[in-house]
């Protein structure tokens, strides 16, 4: 098993980590899991996701997760 941490921002925080001030959700996954597993586990609507970061690096859903990873989830950067 590996342990990863997911951090949600802005509107995603309320939806996927309710009650968590920092928007942080720890998750235990099988070794070799990909980012797409996080979507499945947390029931994330991928239509809401703008981009994902692992440290400073943008990652896609097919990226393999490593133990201790912190993945940041951002929605579309919209405005008006």
């Amino acid at each position: 098993m590996i342990r990863v941490t997911i951090r949600f921002y802005a509107d995603l925080k309320e939806r996927y980590s309710p009650g968590q001030e920092e928007g942080v959700v720890p998750l235990d996954l099988e070794e070799g899991s990909r980012v797409s597993e996080v979507f499945k586990e947390l029931n994330i609507d991928d239509r809401e996701i703008g981009f994902l970061l692992r440290d400073d690096e943008k990652v896609q859903k097919d990226a393999e997760l490593r133990d201790g990873d912190l993945i940041h989830f951002f929605s579309f950067a919209a405005g008006g």
Binding site: G50, K58, F74, A78, G79
Partner: protein, 626 residues
């Protein structure tokens, strides 16, 4: 048989009070469509290069389109087009509400105003009848009082009124035009052009109906839209929270302009976000003609709505004020006097940086404490700008001119493109949007690429799937500046230009809304009876952009005008993107590639072949095209 449009354009000469009509043929309408297309056509065709924006010869064009007025969500907008007093080039701005459809029901597709009235007047258009009415008693009134007075005079509460406030009368170069108190042609300083003509308002009322080719098909598409917009994450968020939802997202992604665009993260963002707005104020949802999305959030007991994202950032993060109450007051004041909140806020941020750097002192502001984070001076400054009092007269000229007057290196942080103040978006986090702001014919404009780059980053991103019919099939990093990004921008620009030519809201069809491109084409067919295609429509969108660019070329604009403020080539100071900057070489390469894709020469001038391709060869003589 004609469907969708009236075939009639109203002409008003305010100098000699002549009123006339023009009846262009079907090919004209199908070629230029309306809005930006029609406005840029007449502006380029009729204006002598070098004419001052406040000269009576400047044209002020109000244009709906061949589809405006159909009872379908998100297609009710109209364009106002004129020479901009901010840029000295092409000026244009769109607004929603009810004014556009009402103009169509009154029997006209557009109004072209020229000349200058000796005394203040307003134009009244009622079911094909046109009158110039005395506006001397209205001069000096706020937007709201003007609307009330005109409705009282004509005795019809359903009269739709596009008016200017004191800022337009006082020729503040970023004065706006407003209908229904909350729908604003905000940008390009078009309210000042209206003021220079002594034209206080255009009131329209129509009881006519619109002939559509296939009303059943139109109804079906309208129902589809109404049924589906709540299921789409972008339109669902707009319905629930409006554009203020952008504050949190942009702050998290390091793109919330802070301290005059030096940082991308504002520690007080949570105090000015949509949640704080919704929890502390009685918010109602308002919207536009035939649209169930109702994305406009208004404070129930106020006249002029509630701040949109741009205003929250302009009077919040960018001047470091974390006080929502003050931002709402600033919004109310700007809307009452008829000031563009973007330009007003960015002008105040500029003043604050002048004070911070010791270039201006407290005495220059009649003793006001104009420092970042100091909310007490903001509303007073708005008054000074609207009425050109003291240094307000300098700031009313816009930051480009103000920095020339003030000097001492202040042009380095005067945040504008082509004289128009920056909208509240940082191109260091989204290269395509930045390129768009640089090349936009109106100057800094964040709406030539919508949605912005972040919507196209994931392999299976929703927006990416939605624009697959354009041939955009692969994701691109937001900071990517390659030719692939330029292509994404160019194709997206054509879509957005089409929306402006047809008066379509960015929040209606994909990629920022819900209606698929295929269904949108069917909608145009159902209204107009044209057997058309996405190809023909996008070419019409592109045509309108090439026309507006040609207007600028005729005015002497060159490659150096398609640039970003120097600050964006420096590292951003804080937030997720800390340290990121735009590399000058990447920017210049992208600009050259964009010109190449568009059929422009190295100075950004459309080539003769490009004009021929778009079937507007008549433009070649205007710009000496090779």
């Amino acid at each position: 048989m004609r469907f969708g449009y009236n075939g009639k354009i109203l002409r008003v000469n305010l100098s000699n009070r002549e009123i006339g009509f023009e009846e262009p043929d079907e090919i004209f309408y199908r070629t230029y469509l309306g809005g930006k297309g029609l406005g840029s056509y007449f502006l380029l065709k009729e204006m002598e290069p070098g004419t001052d924006a406040f000269h009576p010869d400047n044209r002020l064009i109000f244009a709906a389109s061949v589809i405006t007025g159909a009872p379908v969500p998100a297609i009710c907008r109209y364009s106002v087009v004129s020479k901009s007093p901010l840029s000295g080039g092409y000026g244009e701005s769109e607004a929603g509400g009810w004014w556009g459809p009402e103009l169509k029901f009154a029997g006209f597709d557009a109004i072209i105003v020229e000349g200058r009235s000796e005394k203040p007047v307003y134009l009244l258009v009622r079911d094909g009848q046109v009158e110039l009415k005395d506006a001397v008693p209205l001069w000096g009134l706020t937007i709201g009082d003007t609307q009330k007075a005109i409705r009282g005079e004509v005795g019809d509460e359903r009269t739709r009124i596009a008016a200017i406030g004191p800022a337009g009368e006082n020729l503040v170069r970023y004065a706006c035009i407003t209908n229904e108190l909350i729908h604003v042609n905000g940008r390009s300083g078009l309210g000042a052009v209206m003021g220079s003509k002594n034209l206080k308002a255009i009131a329209v009322r129509g009881t006519g109906s619109m002939k559509m080719y296939d009303p059943e098909m139109v109804k079906e598409i309208a129902s589809w839209h109404a049924k589906n917009f709540r299921e789409h994450p972008l339109t669902k968020s707009l319905h629930e929270h409006g554009t203020p939802a952008g504050v949190d997202v942009l702050n998290a992604t390091g793109m919330l302009p802070t301290r005059n665009f030096r940082s991308g993260e504002f520690p007080g963002a949570h105090q000015i976000n949509s949640k704080t707005l919704e929890e502390n104020y009685p918010i109602e949802k308002k919207g536009c003609f035939a649209c169930p999305m109702r994305c406009k959030k208004v404070v129930a007991n106020l006249d002029y709505g509630a701040p949109e994202y741009e205003t929250l950032a302009a009077f919040g993060s960018n001047i470091e004020v974390a006080n929502l109450k003050m931002i709402i007051e600033a919004n109310e004041l700007c809307n009452k006097y008829g000031l563009d909140t973007i330009s007003a806020g960015v002008s105040i941020a500029f003043a604050m940086e002048c004070v911070e750097k010791g270039i201006l002192k407290e005495k220059d502001f009649d003793g006001l404490d104009v420092r970042f984070g100091n909310q007490s001076s903001v509303c007073k400054l708005i008054e000074m700008i609207a009425f050109r009092k003291g240094i307000g007269g300098v700031l009313a000229e816009g930051v480009k001119r103000a920095s020339k007057t003030i000097g001492k290196g202040s042009s380095e942080f005067a945040m504008h493109i082509k004289g128009q103040e920056m909208p509240l978006h940082d191109p260091r986090g989204k290269f395509g949007t930045g390129l768009g702001m640089a090349v936009s014919e109106t100057g800094a404009d964040h709406l030539t690429m919508v949605p912005h780059d972040n919507a196209y980053e994931m392999k299976d991103a929703l927006c990416l799937k939605e624009i697959a019919p354009l041939g955009i099939l692969e994701p691109l990093d937001a900071l990517d500046s390659s030719a692939r990004k330029v292509r994404l921008y160019y194709y997206n620009e054509n879509v957005l230009s089409l929306w402006r030519a047809l008066g379509v809201c960015n929040f209606g069809p994909v990629p920022r809304g819900v209606l698929p491109l295929k269904k949108f084409v069917e909608l145009v067919e159902g209204i107009t009876g044209y057997e058309t295609s996405l190809w023909e429509l996008l070419k019409a969108g592109e045509r309108s952009t090439v026309l507006s660019r040609s207007f600028n070329v005729a005015e002497g604009f060159t490659r150096k005008d398609d640039d970003l403020p120097p600050r964006f080539f420096e590292p951003i100071e804080g937030g997720l993107l800390k340290g990121k900057k735009i590399e000058r070489r990447n920017f210049e390469e992208a600009l050259t590639t964009y010109y190449g894709m568009k059929g422009y020469d190295e100075e950004g001038r459309p080539t003769r072949a490009k004009l021929q391709e778009l079937n507007i060869e008549w433009v070649a003589d205007k710009i000496d095209a090779k």
